[in-house]
């Protein structure tokens, strides 16, 4: 397989379902009729209208990027804080990529529905975790077949559920 790149979406799913990471990497995109996908898209398109801007850096896309008191501030909007670990690592990954481009930044996770924000800064521990995660994601992607589906809570609302459980 050529041209496999890790991106924020894969990082997000890595902490939820490893099977999903594999499927996404093959562009086997999930069912577009799934109503949960629509909700996600809706929130994404309609929240924080004033600040909202999507900017690509290399092969990653960030939601909000602006200068804030001399620092670059990267924002990521999520519909709920249920998957905080995923969200945190995803944003940390963006910061890490920015750093590779020589930009120091801070991150802020936003949960508009819950009116909640979490700040994220890179440190040695997080950077080590990210490097480890990158390797593990590549390991998943390079496998010929995905990990078998395992029923988890997320399956119920997952756009792949009919694919996995048919």
């Amino acid at each position: 397989m050529e041209d496999i790149k890790i991106n924020g979406t894969l990082v997000w799913y890595y902490y939820i379902c490893k099977r999903e990471v594999w499927l996404m990497s093959r562009k086997i995109v999930a069912d577009q009729d799934n109503k949960f996908m629509d909700i996600g898209r809706f929130i994404h398109e309609n929240s924080y209208g004033r600040e909202k801007k999507e900017i690509s850096i290399g092969n990653i896309k960030v939601d909000v990027l602006k200068r804030h008191k001399g620092n670059v501030l990267v924002g990521e909007v999520k519909k709920s804080s249920k998957f905080q670990e995923s969200a945190k690592m995803q944003l940390a990954y963006y910061l890490y990529k920015l750093k590779e481009y020589g930009i120091d930044g801070e991150g802020i996770l936003m949960f508009p529905k819950e009116r909640k924000r979490i700040e994220i800064k890179l440190n040695d521990k997080i950077i080590a975790d990210i490097k480890d995660m990158e390797k593990k994601i590549l390991n998943i992607i390079y496998k010929d077949i995905p990990q078998e589906p395992k029923k988890i809570k997320y399956c119920k609302n997952c756009a792949y559920s009919e694919f996995c459980w048919s």
């Binding site: 397989m1 995109v29 577009q32 995905p146 694919f163 048919s166």
Partner: protein, 330 residues
């Protein structure tokens, strides 16, 4: 839940603001686009590029039927779910004769088992068709012995010939005798209904394929020549007995369609308008009827079942899980 919009009347269909507008001589109607999964157009309908581009953007397919109710073709928006990986896999399984045969066999298995399930239903209701059931079971033993898809097609054809012999005994109506299978043109009422029902099935499966990563031009049982859709023919084999044939038996059994509903035209025996609408309506009801799905743990419609079948094929092509066709249990 999105639905299929069937258009029988003549008129003009167009985009109007952010919805669809259908205008006939004496009626105007709005069709909210978010509710539409596909269009089946039977009437004489005028449309323009602006409408098509709107439809493409919403990933809706349009299927056209001619004056006689025959399928003409589809407007299939540029593939939106593109996975180079899946197309490569689909081709790989087509080009490798063993792999291809393997999948084709499963289509035939699903098809004959669903025929048996139709027969079983009528055997339980006292129809004298056990001999046919027996012959099909005997013939089915030849399926695993096939070396080529041509042989397999041969067996499949034989099974179908025997299966159709049950129709006269099930329907038991002298107006609707099977005689022999005649397609174009259908030479009698029953053949006309079978052809019509099968084409609805092909089109429905095609619409579902569009919503997956599969390419409808690469079939396994039906040979691919890249000029026409064949994967939908393959998958339809599984569903035809339980959807189309049952539908025909029920329409005739309840005398909803009689010989007065047909006319003879240059194209053979065709269904008149009223009966065609009725047929389509009943077909749609069947597609929307739900059954309990064990693995998913909830009810799914027959239409959804087609999609799940396609997902199973995708998983087979991925090398993840061997494909096993859907078999109706009643």
């Amino acid at each position: 839940m999105k639905k299929v919009i069937y258009i029988f009347n003549d008129g003009e269909i167009k985009r109007k603001d952010n919805t669809i507008f259908f205008e006939t001589d004496d009626k105007k109607s709005y069709i909210p686009i978010e509710d539409v999964s596909d269009f089946f157009i039977f009437g004489e309908v005028t449309l323009n590029k602006r409408f098509l581009s709107y439809i493409s953007q919403k990933e809706i397919t349009i299927h056209f039927f001619n004056y006689y109710g025959y399928y003409m073709g589809s407007y299939y928006p540029r593939e939106h779910l593109n996975s180079g990986y899946m197309i490569l896999k689909q081709s790989e399984y087509y080009l490798n004769e063993d792999k291809r045969l393997n999948i084709a066999m499963e289509f035939v298995n699903g098809s004959y088992k669903n025929m048996l399930s139709v027969l079983k239903y009528y055997i339980n209701r006292g129809k004298d068709i056990s001999d046919i059931d027996e012959s099909i079971k005997n013939l089915s033993r030849e399926i695993p012995k096939c070396f080529t898809t041509n042989q397999l097609m041969g067996i499949e054809g034989n099974i179908r010939d025997i299966y159709y012999k049950s129709f006269d005994r099930i329907i038991n109506n002298k107006d609707f005798v099977f005689e022999k299978r005649s397609r174009r043109p259908p030479e009698n009422y029953l053949n006309s209904m079978i052809s019509f029902g099968n084409s609805l099935m092909y089109v429905m499966v095609l619409s579902e394929i569009y919503k997956t990563h599969l390419d409808p031009r690469i079939g396994y049982l039906h040979s691919t020549n890249f000029r026409r859709f064949t994967l939908n023919l393959d998958v339809s084999e599984i569903f035809k007995p339980i959807i189309v044939d049952r539908l025909i038996f029920s329409l005739l059994g309840r005398k909803m369609i009689t010989k007065e509903d047909f006319e003879e035209d240059m194209e053979g025996i065709i269904l008149k308008d009223r009966a065609r609408k009725l047929f389509v309506q009943e077909f749609d009801n069947r597609m929307r009827a739900t059954i309990k799905h064990r693995q998913l743990g909830r009810n799914v419609s027959y239409r959804r079942l087609i999609r799940l079948e396609l997902y199973k094929i995708e998983k087979h092509l991925m090398g993840e899980k061997p494909y096993s066709a859907f078999v109706s249990r009643w």
